[in-house]
Symmetry: C2
Subunit: 115 residues, 2 copies
DNA sequence: TTATATACCTAAAAAACTTATGTATATAAT
DNA sequence: ATTATATACATAAGTTTTTTAGGTATATAA
């Protein structure tokens, strides 16, 4: 995760959300997508990503499918039905937490700020 | 942090921010303030809070002062000069992380949403 | 032939947090 | 009287998550 030591548990939510949008993704692709979406500011390390993927698979939220592309092995992950349910719940949990965080850190109401 | 196990390191930032606003707070007061600001949704556990306070003190960001109030001991914490500098940097780090999180989780630009 | 990119993986260690426990005083409820 | 709750501090064992560091392998650019 590079310089920012802030994600905890949010990595799972990030993975699930990206898979909700993309149907099928492989590990390396996820790291690149996150890097791209955050202008290189969030870098997911492999040591964090792969164990997280394996855990989500073990919990039955993801399934895998191996493909051979240019003599290279790719392991594609996609959401199971349980996984699809979990995305929604994990997302609102995280959004709720972020809102509470803003209530603590930004107590003032800023003009022009709408939710 | 009770039921929501989200975003690590944010506890330190919460403590520093509350102390920036309040000059002097004791541990129990911090737990109550956070509970109040988040309508009871975030509950800081003592097992997380006290080690965090001790660590910030050891790092030279906080100083302590013990007071006797109604036969009870209170340990008041306040920011050192280094602590005052750290608040700003920790806050912008966390805000930056949250923004990146939103870029991943809320890719669409919502109408009426201004930063 | 060396470095970089792609692509997977694991294992030891560090860090943060939960859960459980302990001490102590004060007050409200049974 | 005694139990529960609130106030107020603290630590220690265990769990989870992440970092750091290492390993394997192919392809391409320098």
């Amino acid at each position: 995760m590079s310089n920012n030591n802030l994600i905890k548990g949010s990595l799972q939510t990030i993975i699930l959300k990206l898979l909700e949008e993309n149907e099928k993704m492989y590990g390396y692709e996820i790291t690149q997508r996150v890097k791209e979406l955050t202008s290189g500011e969030i870098k997911i390390t492999e040591g964090a990503l792969y164990p997280a993927l394996h855990k989500l698979e073990a919990e039955g939220l993801l399934t895998t499918e191996i493909q051979q592309v240019d003599n290279r092995v790719r392991k594609y992950y996609s959401l199971t039905k349980d996984g699809q349910k979990e995305v929604t719940s994990k997302l609102s949990e995280l959004q709720g937490f972020v809102e509470n965080l803003q209530r603590i850190l930004n107590p003032e109401i800023k003009p022009g700020f709408n939710i």
